[in-house]
């Protein structure tokens, strides 16, 4: 039943890590938050109010895009970037799962402490 040397799980972890890494930069998370709040926007609009250069914003958008968190479409002379909510959902599910596992583990630990495995002393 157990996979021989992991692999499916490994890839899952790696992918989740890449998504978290994408969200793990303040500028980037701010961009994502903004896209969530105000919907699809062009680069200049995303740059307005940001403390970094347009180039920096562009770089971050590409990083987010590589993580699958965001998708850009060229319309006219501007590129409109919008969120890819499925990736966000994936990562939410990941957190839910490991949280549940933690609760389970804590439960096991508690019953273990309450009834140690045949060790009278």
């Amino acid at each position: 039943m157990a996979s021989p040397r992991s692999s499916r799980v490994d890839r899952k972890v790696a992918e989740a890590a890449s998504i978290f890494a994408a969200l793990g930069d303040e500028t980037r998370l701010r961009i994502v938050t903004r896209l969530c709040r105000s919907g699809p926007q062009s680069i200049v609009r995303l740059t307005e109010g940001s403390r970094v250069t347009r180039q920096a914003v562009t770089k971050h958008l590409h990083a987010l895009s590589e993580a699958g968190l965001v998708r850009g479409e060229r319309v006219g002379r501007e590129t409109v970037w919008e969120l890819e909510p499925r990736r966000l959902a994936e990562v939410r599910r990941y957190l839910d799962i490991i949280s549940a596992q933690w609760d389970e583990a804590i439960g096991r630990l508690r019953t273990f402490v309450e009834s140690p495995p045949s060790k009278p002393s």
Copy 2:
């Protein structure tokens, strides 16, 4: 009503970003996952099966600790590290909130497209 130059929100974002960043490394996420699955463990046990050195694991544990995701307690000659589930919960809530905002934004966009603001042509 709106805060003068953000700040509360800024700090929120920064904190969330730091947590995501902590989770955004494969080795680190693997450690967290492992702590979730198997409960509190010492460093050597965490290192077993890992592809990196004990020192690396230690470093990552400290990184996770600084993000508030994990807490270590010295017991006897070993240090037992365990998860801090509240931080995980925080970040889950963050994702839930921005996801909800996205849904809202998309809703607004849709009604906007369906009834443009007085532009007949």
